[in-house]
Amino acid sequence: MAAQPKRGGVSLPERGSASKPESSILARITSSPIVSRGKQAASDAAFVSKKLIHSTGKAAWIAGTTFLILVVPLIIEMDREQQFNELELQQASLLGAPPTAPAVALLVESI
């Protein structure tokens, strides 16, 4: 984790050198290499997950608004078309089956 040349746009933050060990047992435990490694790993994980959440959020926003613009009107219109077809079928069957072809065409024109 020493200073490395930046390769991509994102890299983990620089770290300072480990602090000097103190005399008490608790201080020695908390400043032991395992614990400090663990702390570094936890802050790395927090940083990475924050970036991940941000980019997932951005991707979700782009996907969501694009879906809203492209697909939602399509679903609405296809649903209306289906309803219209069903209504027509109902009307056609209501007038007695089978209606003659020109009569159906006239009915369709008038709707």
């Binding site: 782009i62 608004t65 694009t66 613009i69 492209l70 697909v71 009107p73 399509l74 219109e77 296809m78 209306r80 078309e81 219209f84």
Partner: protein, 313 residues
């Protein structure tokens, strides 16, 4: 495509007509090929599906027919208009104007005129002199000096070819020619010369169409290569895709879109490789009353344009 001005060609017709065989083929009769579509409408299907006229703001159009041939139209357009700016920011200025227009449509003669409150006049004339010869004229006059232009087109339609000669102001000359090579395939070329900018160019185009699909390609020496493909999935749905590449400025754009023509509405949607998605809905509320919704989202530039409108008549 806006940069391509149909030019004129003197030399190409001789080459292309040699490809139309004179020997009689059992499956295709090369003597009776269909007339190809006009050169400027080569990309017609792809343009109709992929480039609807999206707008921002309110649009209201009212067309009233006074006669069988004559009609007047009133239009109100309000909304922000983009000003081309050098910086990355898009500058929008709210504008509103009213446009009055008159149309006279006859089988042989068509006259269309529009005048706007900001002083712009737009006039189009199309006259069929004979069965095969058509003259078209187009003029746009503005208040600003040196911004007005006009163009004359002379079209000649042969049995299986079309040729066109164009003259515009600023010493703009162009001609194009398109020939049917087989019942499904047609080839064409164009040449233009712009005197004011001392530029000339030549381009070639090809179009293959069947009942179910249309594929077109166009190359020009201004550096543009444009390919498009439209597939008619059913009589209500068609899918289109378009690829444009400028080999001089290394600019690439690809787009994919759909076009749903349902009984009550027409919905067109498109997504672009520039991160731009547009959608255009025309819904028929009543006889002669259409409701229009237009949406354009540019994720890269963070530019959002939404518009709605009503068309009467």
């Amino acid at each position: 495509m806006a940069g391509l001005v149909p030019p004129g060609i003197p030399a190409v017709p001789a080459d292309v007509s040699h490809t139309a065989h004179t020997k009689h083929d059992e499956k295709t009769d090369y003597m009776n090929l269909p007339c190809p579509i006009p050169y400027e409408e080569l990309h017609r299907e792809a343009l109709m599906s992929l480039k609807p006229e999206t707008f921002e703001g309110l649009r209201f159009d009212f067309t009233k027919g006074l006669n069988q041939k004559f009609s007047l139209s009133h239009s109100v357009i309000m909304g922000p208009t983009e000003i081309p700016s050098q910086s990355a920011e898009t500058i929008k200025i709210p504008t509103a104007h009213y446009e009055f227009g008159a149309n006279f449509i006859d089988p042989n003669l068509m006259l269309i005129g529009r005048v706007m409150t900001d002083g712009r006049l737009n006039a189009r004339v199309k006259c069929d002199l004979t069965d095969n010869l058509t003259v078209k004229a187009n003029a746009q006059l503005t208040n600003e000096p040196h911004m007005s232009h006009g163009m004359f087109n002379f079209d000649y339609k042969g049995k299986d070819f079309r040729s066109q000669f164009q003259m515009g102001n600023g010493a703009l000359f162009g001609a194009n020619y398109i020939q049917s090579v087989t019942p499904h395939f047609s080839l064409g070329g164009e040449v233009f010369w712009a005197g004011q900018h001392r530029k000339s160019g030549i381009g070639y185009a090809a179009r293959y169409e069947t009942d179910k699909m249309v594929a077109t390609g166009q190359v020009a020496n201004t550096g543009i290569v444009a390919l498009s493909y439209v597939q008619k999935v059913s009589d209500k749905v068609s899918l289109a895709s378009d690829f444009m590449y400028n080999y001089l400025s290394k600019d690439v754009t690809a787009s994919v879109g759909y076009d749903y023509i349902l009984r009550q509405c027409r919905l067109r949607g498109k997504i672009d490789s520039n991160g731009c998605t547009t959608s255009y809905l025309e819904e028929r509320l009543n006889m002669g009353l259409n409701f229009i919704l237009s949406a354009e989202i540019d994720h890269r530039k963070k530019d959002y344009k939404f518009g709605f409108g009503l068309t009467v008549g």
